[in-house]
């Protein structure tokens, strides 16, 4: 006789999931403001010119840090808090913190908000560390590292209690806990304290790359392998291809970091190795994308009726494009033309927003009404959020990618530097419009969340009656 399964209410701390999502949305607002400020600066329309604390250079770093550590990390922590207990049927470890009246999960929540806020303050005060994507001031690095350790301590125990083979999502999560911890340590401490110069450049390249590939990507695919079968009510098409996807990513992804610094003094044989493993990964990516589209086969109607599924598959569409782009742009031939240009900026936006943030917004679209036990305030606003985001990121990425080609041609033909700036202005204007579309989508979503939250609260009179 089967023993009774634990109930959802005993497994998942729904308030924590909800507040991780809210924190994520707050940081997304800060990030978008930073991006807008830099976009206006490039157009020479910065209304706050000459104000130290509103310097576009400093806000550009808030733009990237708030999105990576504020939005993406918070959204993942919320997602993990929902998925891991439900998949493993065990609660997260969550021991009581001595001296404080909270468990480890909430301690991580507060510690993480503190880390991201302190990072923003440190950057505004001009204390950046010269590590791209790791500009967190060096005095915060150890706290962030401790936070990542606590995340691993909190979420690995329920996975460890699972008997027999693990489900695909859990492979990705388990590996991501280890990788994120190691990647952060490598990127923030090695080039600061242990190696210098060219070798530090190699480490910096690994860090930029692994942060996307070994923190964001595996957690993102973990979400997809969990939510897509549930929403489509059918299993993933091929388990064998899932294995190819995971092990291919695990082997090839960490080997690629140096492709961020091609034609530097880093030894050429290492550059070749990074290029080859990047191209190899494209085959792995194709296998995963194929697997998910084969799963969708027969259910394509869900793309029109099921909004979270549409978010997820739109993200996969951009994932395929961005990875295909990777396989070409990583070659030395392409690098001659497009390195240092806005092509790379377009690529980065397509990866971070077009793929992972789209997935996370889809997850929020699915989970928030379940967390609040209230249907969405407006289905129509949800559609607006999707279309403004999807069109906005597409426009921004393609605009910047095309601009990169022109910039590269201008530079290599030895025209005066001003020529590359003059030709950029119209493209930068289009990018600003695209960014405003994405910001509008964000505002629409925030309004929708707030209204749904207000609807979920009992009206004052009703509450008074209930207590009386």
């Amino acid at each position: 006789m089967e023993k009774e399964l634990p109930r959802h209410a005993d497994l998942v701390d729904e308030r924590l999931v909800y507040w991780h999502f809210m924190a994520a949305l707050i940081f997304m607002g800060a990030s978008m403001l930073g991006g807008l400020l830099m976009a206006l600066q490039l157009l020479r329309l910065n209304p706050f010119s000459g104000i130290e604390l509103l310097s576009p250079g400093r806000w550009r770093m808030i733009h990237t840090n708030a999105i990576a550590y504020g939005f993406i990390a918070n959204a993942f922590l919320g997602g993990l808090q929902w998925i891991v207990p439900r998949l493993t049927l065990h609660k997260v470890y969550n021991p009581k913190i001595p001296g404080l009246n909270i468990g480890l999960s909430w301690a991580i929540f507060w510690a993480w908000q503190l880390v991201v806020t302190a990072t923003a303050v440190g950057l505004l005060l001009g204390q950046a560390q010269a590590v791209e994507w790791g500009e967190t001031p060096i005095w915060i690095d150890p706290v962030a590292q401790l936070g990542l350790l606590l995340v691993a301590i909190n979420y690995i125990p329920p996975i460890a209690k699972v008997e027999g083979p693990l489900y695909v999502s859990l492979w990705y999560f388990l590996a991501a806990f280890v990788w994120t911890f190691l990647t952060y340590a490598m990127g923030n401490f090695m080039p600061q304290y242990f190696v210098t110069g060219t070798a530090a450049g190699a480490v910096g390249g690994l860090f930029i790359h692994d942060l996307v590939g070994l923190f964001v990507t595996p957690l993102g695919w973990g979400l997809m392998y969990y939510f897509v079968p549930i929403l489509l009510k059918k299993p993933i098409w091929s388990h064998g291809l899932s294995l190819v996807g995971f092990w291919g990513l695990a082997f090839f992804y960490p080997l690629q970091g140096i492709h961020h610094f091609l034609y530097t003094p880093i030894p050429m044989f290492l550059q070749y190795g990074a290029v080859i493993s990047t191209i190899a990964l494209e085959l792995v990516v194709a296998s995963v994308i194929f697997n998910f589209h084969a799963t969708l086969r027969g259910s394509t109607g869900a793309l029109t009726t099921n909004l979270p599924i549409r978010w997820f598959y739109s993200g996969m569409f951009y994932y395929f494009l961005t990875c295909l782009q990777c396989a070409f742009q990583v070659t030395l031939t392409f690098q001659q033309l497009i390195h240092f240009s806005d092509w790379v900026v377009g690529h980065a936006h397509m990866v971070m927003f077009g793929v992972f943030i789209m997935w996370q917004l889809g997850m929020m679209t699915y989970l928030i009404p379940r967390l609040l036990k209230t249907p969405w305030y407006s289905q129509r606003l949800l559609e607006w959020h999707y279309w403004l985001s999807f069109v906005g990121i597409g426009l921004m990425s393609f605009d910047l990618i095309i601009l990169g080609i022109f910039q590269g041609l201008s530079w290599s033909s030895l025209l005066p530097w001003e020529h590359s700036l003059d030709l950029s202005i119209p493209f930068w204007a289009v990018r600003t419009v695209a960014g405003l579309l994405m910001i509008a989508g964000y505002l629409v979503f925030v309004v929708n969340v707030v209204q749904t939250y207000l609807t979920s609260r009992p009206a004052p009179q009703k509450a008074a009656v209930a207590t009386a």
């Binding site: 910065n46 010119s49 000459g50 310097s55 250079g57 400093r58 770093m61 001009g126 204390q127 950046a128 560390q129 010269a130 791209e132 500009e135 996975i159 460890a160 699972v162 693990l166 492979w171 388990l174 590996a175 280890v178 990788w179 190691l182 990647t183 490598m186 210098t196 110069g197 060219t198 070798a199 530090a200 450049g201 190699a202 910096g204 690994l206 070994l214 294995l243 695990a250 960490p254 080997l255 970091g257 034609y263 530097t264 003094p265 880093i266 290492l270 190795g273 001659q336 240092f340 240009s341 790379v344 900026v345 590269g408 530079w411 290599s412 030895l414 530097w417 001003e418 700036l421 003059d422």
Partner: protein
């Protein structure tokens, strides 16, 4: 194995990461272990180009210079030591401002052997140029909104840089570079300690190369003590 906790945790999680770390991070570190990291003091030893620029700052901005560093001591040897100390200090502070203001997000510091970059900027970058504390963490950069700066030193005068940091569009019409008035005391000819330091840092970039251009001839500074340099050395 492929779906087990041990396999995922130890082979994929730690094993593959370790393999990549060994081959991609430790190999270059070991290859360059014979190129020791230079300190700021070692970098400036015998760097006449940088000293020239630093004394030139004293000549062009005597009030700012005195406000930032005080008056030079009497005696040639003491003054030499004084200038050494403060130029090292300025170089380090200038580097910190460069990092804190995120200059490195719009300006790279390496010249590639392709796309005519050596014709636009100067000699292709070599490893030994980066083996110093001011490249910790390394400032290669990944984006060029503005030009590469690794050969910028000596190309333009200190005056030019002061005005440019104060309000770039005065000199580069249409430049999208932000203004940095907080590196000045209200006017372009009054850089504060951070402003002087940032100019020193930019003039240092490439100053170790044979091809470092001398922009203008040396002229003595009006600051008392510094101006008497020639007299003391007789």
């Amino acid at each position: 194995m492929l779906e087990s906790k041990v396999g995922v945790l130890f082979i994929a999680g730690i094993g593959f990461f370790g393999l990549a770390f060994l081959s991609n991070a430790l190999v270059p570190a070991l290859m360059y272990r014979d190129l020791p990291e230079q300190t700021v003091e070692q970098l400036l030893r015998n760097n006449g180009n940088l000293r020239f620029q630093f004394e030139d700052l004293a000549r062009r901005f005597p009030d700012s210079f005195t406000a930032a560093y005080g008056h030079p001591p009497e005696g040639a040897a003491e003054r030499e030591k004084w200038l050494d100390t403060w130029s090292q200090h300025a170089l380090q502070l200038g580097h910190d401002v460069y990092v804190g203001e995120a200059c490195w997000h719009c300006h790279s510091q390496f010249v590639r052997p392709v796309s005519n970059e050596d014709r636009r900027f100067g000699p292709v970058s070599k490893t030994e140029e980066y083996q110093n504390v001011l490249q910790r963490p390394v400032l290669f950069g990944t984006r060029r909104v503005g030009p590469d700066l690794s050969r910028e030193g000596g190309r333009r005068s200190n005056d030019w840089h002061a005005v440019h940091f104060f309000k770039p569009t005065i000199l580069s019409i249409g430049s999208p570079m932000p203004e940095y008035p907080w590196l000045f005391n209200g006017a372009a000819d009054k850089p504060n300690a951070k402003g002087l330091a940032l100019i020193t840092y930019v003039q240092w970039l490439g100053s170790w190369l044979e091809s470092y251009p001398y922009y203008e001839d040396y002229q003595p500074s009006p600051i008392h003590g510094l101006a008497e340099k020639g007299k003391d050395q007789k």
